[in-house]
Symmetry: C2
Subunit: 97 residues, 2 copies
């Protein structure tokens, strides 16, 4: 495994995107089904503006993707990779006794 500077910054950006409780909840919510921004905001009880900012971060690192439907934007997980990763880390966290 080689770590170029580019790889390092991509990987840290990815981890950084995952290192916020709000964004983790977003990802968890999206693991069930795609949702619009408004639906997410209501479901997570978070401000729309804040949510949009966070979604942008998740999108930048390709953790989520969007499609348009009328005036709505439907967000979903970019791939199952994301979910797999998350469950792994959760089990690692739970290994603490």
């Amino acid at each position: 495994m080689t770590l170029s500077n580019q790889t390092i910054s991509e990987v840290t950006d990815l981890f950084k995107a995952l290192s916020d409780p709000g964004r983790l909840k977003i990802i968890y919510a999206l693991s069930d089904s795609e949702m619009s921004v408004t639906e997410l905001a209501e479901s997570l009880d978070i401000e729309q503006s804040s949510l949009s900012h966070q979604l942008k971060i998740l999108k930048n690192v390709r953790l989520v993707s969007v499609r348009r439907e009328g005036r709505k934007r439907l967000y979903s997980l970019a791939d199952e990779h994301v979910y797999t990763l998350l469950t792994q880390v959760i089990s690692h966290a739970n290994e603490k006794r």
Copy 2:
């Protein structure tokens, strides 16, 4: 998969620990072999104090572990889980075209 508040904070702490270039380099260096603080500091060209602070963060989330040998502290990865996780995320990052 259920996300209790405790799980969320443990997982975000773990991701947070991984979301720094310096700490990523530390983990990468330790994937070869255990190293003392001085060895790490020289190898990564980083200040000893800064390194100690970062090692503490990594230790808090159980990514690395330590054993003492004389006046040295030998740090190593806590388990291969860590390395597996890292390689997965690297390949995810590299999926960008």
